[in-house]
């Protein structure tokens, strides 16, 4: 059995927090550039240009792409033939704090959600999947809360029409409107249980946005881009850069659908150990 020291995980979580926040994902930057090339609304074009410039400035000057450096969400794929020497959760949270401090990122985490109090750096929201093999894959996704606040879940009847589901997804974007930093990337989770659909919706944001979409994803994206919300909500054909759907088996009595909206600053970084 392969053994990995928890310190190695801490180092990785540290590096990934900094990389994710300072260096916008290549596919997201490419998606923004494609949208900029296609956009015909003058103001939308100008704002898209600023968004692209912002990413370049952030990388060059080692500044956060956005001041909301998010709630750190960490996705771990842990090979079942790998043994961790130390505490996985502690190692990740320690790494997140180190990275956020070293990267001069924002401490946006409140330990007690009701009584609030001073903001700190961790804990992250950590999801662990056991997988085959002896590798460890870690992804850090700093999720800004302007867009996280626009998340939606609906438990449809199993007899619902596909059109109802499409409408729910498009309406979720319409309700986010100008508030959550459009152009958006729309993560959708379909199936499972209420909680699992929400997790799938968030995981969908990890897919490369420039990858070819399914027919359904393309159709919904087209509908969303007819909303004329546009960058900053000031109009244009670029309301979303992509729609990504993850599905899972569900129960005969239900059809959960969750929407997790990301702002244009969709940030994540991954490393395999």
């Amino acid at each position: 059995m392969r053994i990995i020291n928890a310190n190695k995980i801490t180092e990785t979580a540290k590096d990934l927090s900094i990389k994710a926040n300072l260096d916008l994902r290549k596919d997201v930057l490419a998606g923004l550039k494609q949208a900029y090339a296609k956009e015909t609304n003058k103001r939308a074009e100008k704002i898209l240009k600023s968004i692209i410039d912002n990413a370049l400035i952030a990388k060059k000057e080692k500044l956060a792409v956005c001041q909301d450096t998010g709630m750190p969400c960490v996705f771990v794929e842990l090979g079942q033939d790998l043994q961790i020497k130390g505490d996985l959760n502690k190692a990740i949270n320690r790494g997140i704090e180190k990275g956020y401090r070293l990267g001069f990122l924002r401490n946006s985490i409140i330990k007690d959600p009701l009584n609030r109090g001073a903001s700190v750096y961790n804990p992250a929201v950590i999801h662990v999947d056991l997988v085959k093999g002896k590798k460890l894959k870690i992804t850090v996704l700093p999720k800004g809360f302007g867009c996280e606040n626009k998340s939606q879940l609906r438990m449809f009847n199993p007899t619902a029409d596909l059109d109802d589901i499409k409408k729910f997804i498009v309406d979720a974007v319409s309700q986010a409107g100008p508030d959550a930093c459009p152009p958006y990337v729309v993560g959708v989770g379909i199936g499972g249980t209420a909680d699992y659909a929400c997790l799938l919706a968030k995981k969908a944001l990890l897919r490369k946005i420039t990858d070819h979409g399914s027919e359904l994803e393309d159709e919904i994206l087209k509908e969303i881009n007819k909303l004329n919300i546009g960058p900053m909500g000031l109009g244009g054909s670029t309301t979303a850069l992509a729609v990504k759907i993850e599905a899972y088996p569900t129960h005969i009595a239900g059809l959960p659908v969750a929407v997790n909206i990301s702002c244009h600053a969709l940030r994540s970084a991954t490393k395999v150990l």
Binding site: D53, I57, L63, C66, F104, R106, G146, G177, M232, L234
Partner: protein, 175 residues
């Protein structure tokens, strides 16, 4: 493009129309959720505020930490909606301009019209780019709130779009 300077006077913003692009130079105060809650509570109890609201500009922003050798960290706008419930009482006490992102409630639009104030939009999700307009940053109040403290920023040619003008007309569909 129109240029305006703080301290703002009502005559400076009277002719700004919703959708206009503006460059702002001068002093602005950051304040977000917790700072707003405190400001509103102080007003309710008739307590003195940590900065003068008369003619002031409030920026809904919680910057990242300032790296060594820099003036500020990343400093883009946060969602304005969350500040809506506290906004009318601040406007009634002399607040003249707000900077944020996204739509506002109809109560805020009405309070803007009543007080002949203005709501500006800043480039949303462009905190690194906007940091280049900041010439100085100083914690001004509620330091214990960390990133939610009030910072006094001196800005030069800070790019804005008029979101709701002094007549209460907004760029977004009013709900």
């Amino acid at each position: 493009m129109k240029k305006i300077k703080t301290p703002l006077k009502r005559s400076d913003i009277k002719n700004l129309k919703s959708g206009d692009e503006v460059l702002l130079t001068g002093t602005i105060y950051t304040a977000r959720d917790q700072a707003h809650k405190r400001l509103a509570q102080s007003l309710k109890k008739n307590k003195k505020l940590p900065f003068d609201l008369k003619g002031a500009v409030i920026y809904y922003c919680g910057p990242t930490k300032t790296p060594p050798g820099k003036i500020t960290g990343s400093c883009g706008p946060t969602t304005s909606r969350r500040m809506d419930e506290f906004t009318p009482c601040l406007l009634d006490k002399g607040l003249l301009a707000m900077i944020g992102k996204g739509s506002r409630s109809k109560e805020v639009a009405a309070a803007i019209r009543k007080n002949k104030a203005v709501y500006f939009l800043a480039l949303a999700g462009c905190g690194a780019l906007l940091s280049r307009c900041v010439r100085s940053s100083k914690a001004a109040a509620y330091r214990e709130l960390g990133p939610e403290a009030v910072f006094r920023l001196e800005v030069v040619d800070f790019p804005l779009i008029v979101g709701i003008d002094s007549k209460g007309k907004g760029v977004y569909k009013q709900e």
